[in-house]
C-alpha cells in the first residue's frame, strides 16, 4: 500500500466554512499540523481564520491564533505573527524545536527588551502582559534545562534582575556564573545606569555566598565607586589572624591599584584610616555588614556563618574583640592576653601600613621601577644610529630623537644616552629644551621619592628669577607631573607654589600640565581654581595647558565645570586656548556614556570646528571601550560629512578609543576610511587602529597599516609608522615576520636623506615606541579585569594631540604598563619562585640587539659598565657645573654609594650572561617550554601559556598570569630566598647619590635611610647570584 500524501490544504480550508464547530475545530487542528507545507494556500484564507480567532464564542480561539501566527511567520510578517502568537497563549510552545518557535521567541525577547530598555517610567503600561508571560516562560525553561548562561544573558537583556538573580543562584557553578555575568555586564550592557544596577545585584549575590570571592566583589564595587564596602572588606581581611587573608587583602589592593582610579583609591585609603578603631567591634559582629544597604542584613548573617565555617581555626573574634570587650578575652584566650592584644594590634597596624602603601600605588610603582631597571634591555645602538643620521639643525628630528630616547627608557631611570650626549643635547633650545627636560620625567616615571631631587637642577628657584631658562624650568615642572602621574600626593603642593610664583607663560604651561597629571581625576577644587586663574590671564600658551589641565583634574567627574569651560572657549580669541579647553571638556566626560550626551550634542553642533573637534574627543572618551553602536555611528557620520579636516581626522581617530575593548573590530570598520581620498581621514584611520589595537600585534591591523606606511602624504606616513609601532610593541620577529620588515623600514626612513621631516619624525618616534620602557612595557588600555585604565586612556588621548603640540607626545608614557609577572610574599618582597611558560622561548624573547660590525655581546657588556661609570662621572661633572655649592659630606656619600654599586652591575651582567648561556643552549633543540623566574617578563601574548608548577613552595593567591600576584608560602618556617634584592639597592643608591649630591635635601636622605632599613640581609642574594 503506497503511502498517500496530501497535496493541498483546500479540503481543510473548505471544512473551516462548515457549520458544525467540531468540524471547524478538526480543520484548524489539521491545518496547524500542515501549516508548514501549505501556508501559501492557507494565506488566502487567513481572514477566515482571523475572524475565528476573534470570535468570542469559538472555543478554540487560541488555536486559530496559533495557525494565523504561523502563516504570518511564513509570510515574513513577524510583527503580525508575534501579536497572534501572543493571542495563542499557552498553545505557543516555547520549547518547540522549530524555526518558527525560535524565530518568534527571539522576536518576543527583542520586543520585550526594547520596551523594557526604553527610558521613562511609563513602560509598565505599554508592556503587554502576554509578552511578559512568554518571556518569563522562556526564562524559566532555560533555568530548568540548566542553560544558565542563556538565561542570564536574556535576563540581563530584558532587564529582569529578579530572574538574573534566580538564574545565578540556581546555577550549578555560582562563581562561574557570576564572573560570566560580570563579563556580560561590561561587554553587552550599554546603558551605564543599568550596568550599575546589575553590578550591585552581583555584589549582593557574591556576599551571600558561603565563600565570597572578595577579588571580584571589590572589582565590582570599584566600578560602582563605593569605597566604603571595599574598605570594610579589606579591614575585615586584615583583622583576621590568618596570613592568607592578609595576602588576599594585599592582592585585592594590587588589583584595585591596577585600574588607576586615583580618587577612589584615595577614598578607600582614608576610610581605612578613619575607621580603624570604631569599626573593630562592628566588624567582628557582622563581618559583611554593608553600611549602605539595609537589604544586606539577612545576607550578612549567612556570610557570618559561612565565614566561621571556612575559618574554624581562626580565633578572629576573641582576639579582635579583645580591644573593645576585655571581658571576652579571659574566657577565650588562655594566656598572655595583654601580649596577644598588643601583638595583634601591632600586626594589624603593620598590615594596615602595608596595604596603604599598596593602595597609594607606591609599592607597585617601586616594584615596577625595580623591575624595569633590572630587566632593561633597551638598545642604545638604535638611538646612536638615529642620532648620527639626524641633521643637527633639524630641530623637529632632534627633539623627536630625545623623545624616542625618553620613551625607550620610560620608567627605567636609565638616562645613559642623555649623559653620553650632553653637548648634542644642549642644541635643544626654547620649546625643544622644554621637551628635552620633560623627557627626563618620562625616564624617571614613578620615581616618587627622588623625583623632585632628580629634577632639582632644572626647577625654578623661588626668589631667584632668571636663574635658568624658563623653558627648562617649565619642562621640569611638566616632568615632575609625568613622574608623579596619577600619584601626585607628595608633589601637588610644590607644583602649586611654582605655578603661583611665576608669571612666565612657559613655566605656567609646564606647571599646569604637571598639576593636571599629578592630580589626575582628583577633582581638587583648590587646584582647579588656581589653574582657572591661569586660564583667565588669556595667554595662549599658558591657557592651552590650563585647559588640558582642568580636564585632567576633572576626568570623569560629573560637574558644572564643563559648562564654565565651554563658556570661556566661546569668549576667547586664541585658538590654542579653545583647543586646550575643547580637549579639557572632553576629558571631563570620560566614561560618562549617556550622561555626556547633552554636552556632546552641544559640542558637536558648535559652529567652531575646534569645539566640534573637542566633541569628537568627548564622544571617544565618554564611550571609551564600550563599542557603543550609537557613538560609532555618530563618529562615522562626522568622519565623512564634516567640513573641517581636523574634525574628520579626529572623528576617525576617536573610533580607536571607542573600540579598544574589541580590537578585532577596528581594522574592519576603518578599512574603507583608510582608503579615503582625504589624507586627514587616512591619518585618523591609522591612529585609530594604532590606539585600539595597541600592543596586540593583530595581523589584520598590521595588514591595514602596511600600505599606509608608504603613503604619498608625509603626515599619513608619520601616523601610520607611529600606529604600527603601537600595534607591534613587544611583538618579535618570530611571532610576526613583518616586525622585522618594519624595523628595517624605520631604519631606512631614518637614514634616508631625502625623506620628509614629518615621516622621519614619525619613524624616530616609532622606533622609540617599538622598544618602549626597555622593551618591558606594552600599551594597555584595559586592566586584567577588563576595566578601562583611566590613566592610560587619558594619556593616549592627550598624546594624540602631538599633531598640534610636540611636548604632549610624552603623554604616551601614561599608557605604558609593564608586562611582568611579579610574585610577592607576605612581606611584599619578591621571593624566588619558578613557573612555566608552555611555549617556545623564541616566540616571546627580546628582539635581538642590532648588530654593529663587532659582536653584540661584546658591545653590550662594555656599554653596561661604561654607562654606570659615565653616569657617575657626568653627574659629578654636571653637578659641579650647576651647583658649585654642593657640600663635601654629601659628595662622600655619593662616591661611596657609587663604589658600593660598582660590583652590582657586574652581578647583573652575570645574571644576564646566564640567561644568554641558557638561551644559547636551547636553540639546538628549541624546547616547547621555558622556566621563568620571578619576577619575569610575560608579554600579553604569552599569558595564556603561563602555568604554575605543582609542588612548588609558593602558591599564587590568584591564578593570574601577569601583574602583581601575592604568593602563599607553604613552608613558612624555611628561610626565603629573595630575588630582585640587588636591584633596589643598586637603583636607590645612585638615586640617593644624586639626591644628596645635588641638594642634600632632607626628604631624600630620609627615604634612602628607609630603603636601607628595608633592605634584607645580603647573604641570600649572594647565594642566588653565585
Amino acid at each position: 500500500m503506497a503511502a498517500a500524501m496530501v497535496s493541498s490544504a483546500s479540503g481543510l480550508l473548505a471544512m473551516l466554512n462548515e457549520q458544525h464547530p467540531a468540524l471547524k475545530l478538526h480543520a484548524l487542528d489539521k491545518l496547524n499540523s500542515v501549516v508548514h507545507l501549505f501556508w501559501h494556500e492557507i494565506s488566502t484564507s487567513v481572514p477566515t481564520i482571523e475572524s475565528l480567532s476573534e470570535d468570542e464564542e469559538f472555543e478554540q480561539r487560541e488555536l486559530a491564533s496559533l495557525v494565523v501566527s504561523k502563516v504570518f511567520y511564513y509570510l515574513g510578517e513577524l510583527n503580525d505573527s508575534l501579536s497572534y502568537a501572543l493571542g495563542a497563549g499557552p498553545l505557543f510552545d516555547v520549547s518547540e524545536e522549530s524555526d518558527y518557535a525560535h524565530t518568534l521567541l527571539a522576536k518576543a525577547i527583542d520586543e520585550y527588551a526594547s520596551i523594557k530598555s526604553k527610558p521613562g517610567g511609563g513602560e509598565k503600561e505599554k508592556l503587554d502582559p502576554r509578552l511578559e508571560a512568554i518571556v518569563e516562560r522562556m526564562l524559566d525553561k532555560c533555568i530548568l534545562d540548566g542553560k544558565y548562561q542563556q538565561a542570564m544573558g536574556m535576563a540581563v537583556e530584558c532587564r529582569r534582575l529578579d530572574k538574573l538573580e534566580e538564574a545565578i543562584t540556581r546555577s550549578d557553578n555560582v562563581h562561574g556564573a557570576l564572573s560570566y555575568c560580570i563579563n556580560l555586564s561590561h561587554s553587552f550592557v550599554n546603558h551605564r545606569e543599568y550596568r550599575c544596577e546589575v553590578l550591585r545585584l552581583l555584589v549582593k549575590i557574591y556576599q551571600r555566598l558561603p565563600s565570597p570571592d572578595y577579588l571580584s566583589i571589590c572589582q565590582c564595587l570599584m566600578f560602582l565607586d563605593e569605597p566604603k564596602p571595599v574598605a570594610s572588606i579589606l579591614e575585615k581581611l586584615l583583622l583576621s589572624d590568618s596570613k592568607d587573608d592578609a595576602l588576599l587583602a594585599f592582592q585585592i589592593a594590587f588589583d584595585l591599584v591596577e585600574n588607576e582610579r586615583q580618587a577612589f583609591l584615595l577614598n578607600v585609603r582614608n576610610l581605612l584610616q578613619d575607621s580603624k578603631s570604631p569599626v573593630h567591634h562592628e566588624n567582628t559582629e557582622q563581618p559583611l555588614e554593608n553600611p549602605d544597604q539595609g537589604s544586606a542584613a539577612p545576607s550578612s548573617e549567612n556570610g557570618n556563618a559561612g565565614a566561621s565555617d571556612t575559618n574554624p581555626t581562626s580565633d578572629t573574634n576573641p582576639t579582635m574583640g579583645a580591644g573593645d570587650v576585655p571581658m571576652a578575652e579571659d574566657s577565650h584566650t588562655p594566656n598572655g592576653t595583654a601580649n596577644v592584644m598588643s601583638s595583634s594590634e601591632a600586626a594589624f597596624s603593620e598590615k594596615l601600613a602595608k596595604i596603604k602603601g599598596i593602595l597609594s600605588g607606591e609599592t607597585s610603582i617601586q616594584l615596577t621601577i625595580q623591575f624595569l631597571y633590572s630587566k632593561n634591555k633597551s638598545d642604545l645602538l638604535i638611538l646612536k644610529t638615529i642620532k648620527q643620521s639626524v641633521e643637527m639643525r633639524n630641530s623637529v628630528c632632534h627633539s623627536a630623537t630625545i623623545c624616542a630616547n625618553a620613551i625607550m627608557h620610560a620608567g627605567t631611570t636609565v638616562d645613559t644616552f642623555l649623559r653620553e650626549n650632553l653637548e648634542w643635547l644642549s642644541r635643544a633650545t626654547n620649546w625643544a629644551k622644554f621637551s628635552a627636560t620633560a623627557g627626563l620625567g618620562v625616564i624617571h616615571r614613578g620615581h616618587l621619592q627622588q623625583g623632585r631631587s632628580l629634577m632639582a637642577p632644572y626647577l625654578p628657584q623661588s626668589g631667584a628669577v632668571g636663574g635658568g631658562s624658563p623653558y627648562s624650568e617649565g619642562g621640569a615642572l611638566y616632568a615632575l607631573g609625568l613622574i608623579h602621574a596619577n600619584h601626585g600626593e607628595g608633589i601637588k603642593q610644590f607644583l602649586r607654589e611654582s605655578l603661583r610664583n611665576t608669571n612666565s607663560e612657559v613655566i605656567q604651561h609646564g606647571a599646569c600640565l604637571g598639576l593636571g597629571l599629578a592630580a589626575l581625576g582628583t577633582a581638587d577644587e583648590e587646584i582647579y581654581e588656581e589653574v582657572k586663574n591661569v586660564l583667565y590671564t588669556d595667554s595662549a600658551v599658558a591657557g592651552e595647558a590650563a585647559g588640558i589641565s582642568m580636564g585632567l583634574l576633572m576626568v570623569g567627574t560629573p560637574s558644572e565645570k564643563a559648562g564654565e569651560m565651554l563658556a570661556y572657549a566661546h569668549d576667547t580669541q586664541h585658538e590654542k586656548i579653545i583647543r586646550g579647553l575643547a580637549l579639557g571638556i572632553a576629558l571631563t566626560v570620560y566614561g560618562r556614556e549617556e550622561d555626556a550626551d547633552a554636552l556632546i550634542e552641544q559640542l558637536t553642533g558648535d559652529q567652531d570646528p575646534i569645539l566640534r573637534y573637542g566633541g569628537m574627543y568627548a564622544l571617544a572618551l565618554a564611550y571609551r571601550g564600550t563599542a557603543n553602536n550609537k557613538a560609532i555611528h555618530k563618529l562615522l557620520h562626522f568622519a565623512v560629512s564634516d567640513v573641517s579636516d581636523d574634525v574628520r581626522r579626529t572623528a576617525v581617530l576617536a573610533l580607536g578609543f571607542v573600540l579598544y575593548s574589541e580590537p578585532e573590530q577596528t581594522p574592519r570598520i576603518v578599512s574603507l576610511l583608510s582608503e579615503s581620498y582625504n589624507p586627514h581621514v587616512r591619518y585618523g584611520a591609522a591612529l585609530a587602529v594604532g590606539i585600539s589595537c595597541a600592543g596586540t600585534g593583530l595581523s589584520e591591523a598590521i595588514s591595514l597599516l602596511e600600505p599606509l606606511t608608504s603613503d604619498v602624504v608625509d603626515f599619513v606616513r608619520q601616523g601610520a609608522l607611529i600606529a604600527m609601532a603601537m600595534v607591534m610593541i613587544q611583538t618579535n620577529e618570530s611571532c610576526d615576520s613583518r616586525v622585522g620588515t618594519f624595523r628595517r623600514q624605520l631604519e631606512k626612513i631614518i637614514l634616508d636623506k631625502h625623506e620628509d621631516t614629518m615621516s622621519k619624525m614619525g619613524a624616530i618616534l616609532a622606533s622609540g615606541i617599538l622598544d618602549a620602557g626597555g622593551r618591558n612595557v606594552s600599551i594597555k588600555l584595559l586592566s586584567k579585569a577588563k576595566h578601562d585604565k583611566i590613566t592610560a586612556v587619558v594619556g593616549l588621548a592627550v598624546f594624540s594631540q602631538f599633531w598640534y603640540w610636540y611636548p604632549l607626545t610624552y603623554f604616551i608614557s601614561l599608557a605604558f604598563s609593564p608586562t611582568a609577572f611579579i610574585g610577592l610574599n607576605y612581606d611584599l618582597k619578591v621571593p624566588k619562585f619558578e613557573f612555566l611558560s608552555h611555549a617556545k622561548p623564541s616566540l616571546f624573547e627580546y628582539p635581538r640587539p642590532t648588530a654593529p660590525p663587532s659582536s653584540t655581546s661584546a658591545v653590550k657588556l662594555p656599554t653596561a659598565v661604561l654607562s654606570t661609570t659615565a653616569k657617575a662621572k657626568s653627574r659629578v661633572k654636571k653637578d659641579a657645573e650647576q651647583k658649585a655649592s654642593a657640600d663635601k659630606s654629601s659628595e662622600d656619600t655619593s662616591t661611596s654609594s657609587s663604589s658600593g654599586k660598582s660590583p652590582k652591575p657586574s652581578e647583573k651582567d652575570n645574571d644576564s650572561m646566564q640567561v644568554d648561556s641558557t638561551a644559547d643552549k636551547k636553540p639546538e633543540a628549541e624546547p616547547s617550554f621555558e622556566i621563568l623566574t620571578n619576577p619575569a617578563r610575560v608579554v600579553p601574548a604569552q599569558e595564556k601559556f603561563i602555568k604554575f608548577l605543582e609542588g612548588s613552595r609558593y602558591v599564587p593567591v590568584k591564578l593570574a598570569p601577569s601583574g602583581f600576584v601575592l604568593l602563599r608560602d607553604l613552608q613558612p618556617s624555611e628561610a626565603e630566598v629573595l630575588a630582585l634584592t640587588d636591584a633596589p639597592s643598586s637603583m636607590t643608591s645612585p638615586a640617593a647619590g644624586t639626591a644628596t649630591a645635588t641638594t642634600g635635601g632632607q626628604p631624600a636622605s630620609a627615604t634612602t635611610a628607609m630603603a636601607v632599613d628595608d633592605e634584607p640581609q645580603p647573604p641570600p642574594a649572594f647565594e642566588y647570584s653565585g
Binding site: A2, A3, A4, S7, G11, H20
Partner: protein, 267 residues
C-alpha cells in the same frame, strides 16, 4: 469490524435511504453527523495514517462526500457544493495508489467544472482543467464542460443553451439552468455596451425570452436602470455619462487669470 466504522456505515445507510426518498432535510442532518464522525478516522486526509481499516474508511468517506456533493446540487446550494467538493478532492488526487478510482469521479469533476463556468470563474476553470490527465478529456462529462466553455467564449450562446438537452448526467440539469442565466447576463452586458436602445422584440430575441413579461421581469430584477418606453429598451448609458463630462471652463479661466495677475504683482 471496527465499531466506529460500523456506526458510520449505518448512519450512511440511513442517509442513502433518505437520499433516495429525496428527504433532503434528514439528509443534511445525517450528513452533518457523518462529517463529525469522519473526523475521528485518522486514516483520512490530511493525516493519511496507515491504519488497518484505512482502505474501507477511505472508501466510505469518499462515498459520503460524493453523496454530499450530489446532495448539495439537489438542494441547490452552491456554497455547500464547493465545500464538499474541496473536501472530496483529496480522495481523488491523493489516494490513487490506495483506492480504486471511483466511478463517480468524472461526473463530479465535470460538475465542478460546470459550476465554475456558471459562476464565471474562468481562470479557476482552466486551472482545474490543467490538473486533469489528458485521457480524462475524453470522458463525456469532462468533454461536455469543455465544449460548453468553448462555445461560451466564442459567443455561440445558442449552442450553450441547446447543450442542455445533451447533459451526460441528470445532476447537470441544475447547473445548465443556471448557465442559461449566466449566458443571458453576459448577453445583457454586451448589448448594454453595444446599443443605446433596442426594440422590445429584438431585445426579447437577443436575450432569449419567449414573452414580453419575462423580459420586463428580468429587467426589473437584474437591470432596474434600464428603461422601457416607446416600445424600446433604453440602456441609459448616455444619461449617466453626459452630465459629468462638462468642464467648468469659465471658472478655470477666471482662476488662471487671477493667478497670472497675482504673480505679476508679486514679481
Amino acid at each position: 469490524m471496527d465499531p466506529q466504522l460500523n456506526e458510520v456505515s449505518q448512519v450512511f445507510a440511513r442517509f442513502k435511504a433518505a437520499f433516495t426518498r429525496n428527504d433532503f432535510s434528514t439528509c443534511s442532518d445525517l450528513l452533518s453527523r457523518l462529517k463529525v464522525l469522519l473526523t475521528k478516522f485518522s486514516s483520512l486526509p490530511p493525516s493519511f495514517q496507515q491504519t488497518p481499516n484505512a482502505v474501507q474508511e477511505l472508501t466510505l468517506a469518499r462515498d459520503i462526500y460524493e453523496h454530499a456533493v450530489v446532495l448539495s446540487v439537489k438542494i441547490e446550494d452552491q456554497d455547500a457544493f464547493e465545500r464538499d467538493f474541496f473536501q472530496l478532492k483529496p480522495y481523488y488526487t491523493d489516494t490513487c495508489g490506495v483506492l480504486p478510482p471511483s466511478p463517480q469521479e468524472y461526473p463530479i469533476l465535470g460538475l465542478n467544472l460546470l459550476r465554475l463556468l456558471v459562476q464565471n470563474r474562468i481562470a479557476e476553470f482552466h486551472t482545474e482543467l490543467e490538473l486533469l490527465p489528458a485521457s480524462a478529456l475524453e470522458n463525456p462529462c469532462i468533454k461536455h464542460a469543455v465544449e460548453l466553455e468553448q462555445s461560451f467564449m466564442e459567443g455561440a450562446y445558442n449552442r450553450v443553451l441547446s447543450a442542455r438537452q445533451t447533459v451526460p448526467h441528470e445532476t447537470y440539469v441544475y447547473f445548465m439552468d443556471l448557465l442559461a442565466k449566466t449566458v443571458r447576463d453576459e448577453i445583457a452586458g454586451c448589448s448594454e455596451k453595444a446599443y443605446d436602445y433596442l426594440s422590445i422584440s429584438n431585445a426579447k430575441k437577443i436575450l432569449m425570452f419567449s414573452s414580453d413579461e419575462e423580459l420586463s421581469r428580468y429587467i426589473m430584477e437584474e437591470h432596474p436602470e434600464w428603461e422601457i418606453k416607446n416600445g424600446c429598451v433604453y440602456f441609459q448609458k448616455a444619461k449617466e455619462t453626459q452630465p459629468c463630462k462638462e468642464i467648468p471652463s469659465l471658472q478655470l479661466i477666471n482662476q488662471t487669470l487671477n493667478y497670472a495677475k497675482e504673480l505679476e504683482r508679486i514679481v
